[in-house]
Symmetry: C2
Subunit: 373 residues, 2 copies
């Protein structure tokens, strides 16, 4: 059963752009933060080829914002992550692994610092709102926490700058990577960030109005005709190539950020107040016992990974594959795997047991993949 | 676009019984607590007719358990709800609306009191684990909180007792409504509760082993041949008939339990420690401004409710439909609606604007529906 039907209800929330992408032939959905997220428009391979060469419009309204504001907002956001935010500035997007007191991953949002006392956490798929509210209540913090009516839209691909300029003007080009600026569309001010869930460049527009959203989509669509625009969505093949881990797939509450290769977002030697820091300091001292690596898996194109696939080193189970896809550009199956310590060295040859019953050679690789590793 | 394809991944977790229900022709899925939940086996009407007359096996592994244990477990569970738990006993299942400090609904689990210091919250679709962990950290409570490997299976329908007796013996008949007992299957002890997400009677079995689960399913399936057993799932038509509100559909974080008709689970005059009680006392004093009611909607069978439908009283918008289904046994469309105060009187005739463009008469009704109301 590879393609079951999704029964939609009010609980699997639509976005203001759902009607747009349905008119353009969305081929599949997943549910993300209790909201619909497109997964393909016909063929993931076609989507991938187009994304790497042109520009796409994505409805990523499911990237819900957890808004934290008030006198204790900065303190709470800092407590929730092990990234040192003391030097962060307004207008910055910050990738912040969130961890609990055991150092286990809760989510990995991008934090938008809107003001010294106001943040949006643009979350992956877990109810960070409840975590933040629980902490705020328990600690007696002076903050308000809510999920505002914001549905991000992404413009991704190498032609994204050129398309965005038509709508927002040349100011778009000045937005640096992982910064955002307020730009106007039809007199409506919108936060526009140079970011997005691909490695092809582009922007995320934080649409905060259900009427402006479709109008902006239509304007981008019309202007996009000159740039071979297409509808798109986070693409499995492209994200594997690019080493983009997905919370819930490749990292879960069973993992800590050191195991997920997020060391550079863990400033464990700095002095700041963080719920999970002490646990991670201890874990770092003892050394992690497993870590995410890339795998190049031999043979015919594999199916996507619906359940973890076991990885063997001879007779021993040494890890599991959590995401896999065949990459046309690499002419190889690429995968993410969580591997045990003695079996994670790049170049090491392991065996992946794929659902088709085959045992395939799997070569450990650094992430992101390169043609050489 | 009524039946989009669901793209499954490791993030939309399978259960130990997914392979069983797929072999039996599951017709659709939704995602619930980041896990697959069947929504039909062919036709919701056939499922409904069968459920009301026979017995069904349901894979409701998505009813995740939030386990709270330790010296402060009882205190934390009490703080999370406005139901007075002081007289609760081990072996009891307790429907507990969870609310935040504003009295807003976080979830509406069934709490299983496993011991004086150990509870399972069998949750609806939101990450209660994160809420509980946030509170516990912030308040410095001595509890441990996790999501154990428990995947409930339900046996529902009027023949449920007779089928369960074949597997578990006559002890099954002694389990009272919303109580659970430990029963054995192949030497493995399982919590079995007389409960479930239908009004047709039956049991939920808290399967805590991924191997025992399919073995138990197969045993029930084989024994069930004598009782016209079929695979099933929570049924939209039956739940509307029965007045079973769904968190995320009919009640959300924008509502409080008084608006949702859950007054009898809110002991606001009792003295116990609860996060949301003060807010709800105040709301009760001022009087709620809207409430859930039933609606009988005229005309041809309506489609299911993917987005809220507006309800008018003349020219005025006075509420919204959140769930709707045509009931063969009532020979009427039945719906849940959140209605404003001056428009919620049973018998009142309002107008529902359905997605087919029609304006239909909608008669306000008490819940649950009866043939007379």
């Amino acid at each position: 059963m590879n393609a079951p039907v999704l029964a939609v209800s009010r609980r699997t929330r639509r976005t203001p752009l759902s009607s747009r992408i349905e008119a353009l032939g969305v081929g599949g959905y997943t549910v993300y933060n209790h909201m619909l997220l497109a997964t393909s428009f016909g063929s993931p391979v076609n989507d991938y080829n187009h994304l790497k060469r042109n520009v796409q419009l994505w409805d990523v309204g499911c990237e819900r914002q957890v808004q934290i504001q008030g006198p204790d907002a900065a303190r709470l956001v800092q407590m929730m992550t092990v990234r040192d935010l003391s030097k962060s500035v307004v207008g910055q997007c910050l990738y912040v692994p969130l961890v609990d007191v055991d150092g286990s991953m809760i989510n990995d949002p991008v934090a938008l610092k809107l003001a010294e006392d106001r943040y949006w956490l643009s979350i992956s798929d877990s109810d960070v709102l409840l975590w933040a509210k629980g902490l705020a209540y328990g600690l007696g913090l002076d903050v308000s926490i809510d999920e505002p009516n914001v549905w991000p839209m992404a413009v991704q691909g190498p032609k994204a700058d050129d398309l965005m300029v038509v709508i927002f003007g040349e100011a778009v080009r000045d937005i640096r990577f992982f910064r955002f600026a307020e730009l106007e569309f039809k007199g409506h001010s919108l936060n526009v960030a140079r970011s997005g869930w691909s490695k092809q460049g582009g922007f995320e527009i934080y649409v905060d109005d259900p009427v402006i959203g479709p109008e902006l989509w239509d304007a981008l669509w019309d202007a996009g005709q000159a740039f071979d625009v297409a509808p798109g969505c986070p693409n499995l093949i492209e994200r594997v190539e690019g080493g983009l881990l997905s919370y819930g797939n490749d990292m879960t509450r069973e993992h800590n950020p050191l195991e997920c290769g997020l060391d550079r977002y863990c400033q464990l030697d700095k002095d700041f107040e963080s719920i999970g820091k002490a646990a991670l300091v201890q874990i770092q001292k003892e050394g992690i016992k497993r870590a995410v690596r890339g795998l190049k898996i031999s043979g015919d194109p594999v199916s996507s990974c619906v359940e973890a696939w076991p990885i063997h080193d001879g007779n021993k189970v040494v890890g599991q594959v959590t995401t896999a896809a065949y990459s046309p550009d690499f002419e190889s199956n690429l995968a993410f795997a969580m591997l045990d310590r003695d079996h994670w060295t790049p170049g090491q040859i392991l065996q992946a047991l794929t659902p088709d019953g085959q045992t395939r050679d799997a070569v450990v690789s650094e992430l992101p993949f390169t043609q050489d590793n």
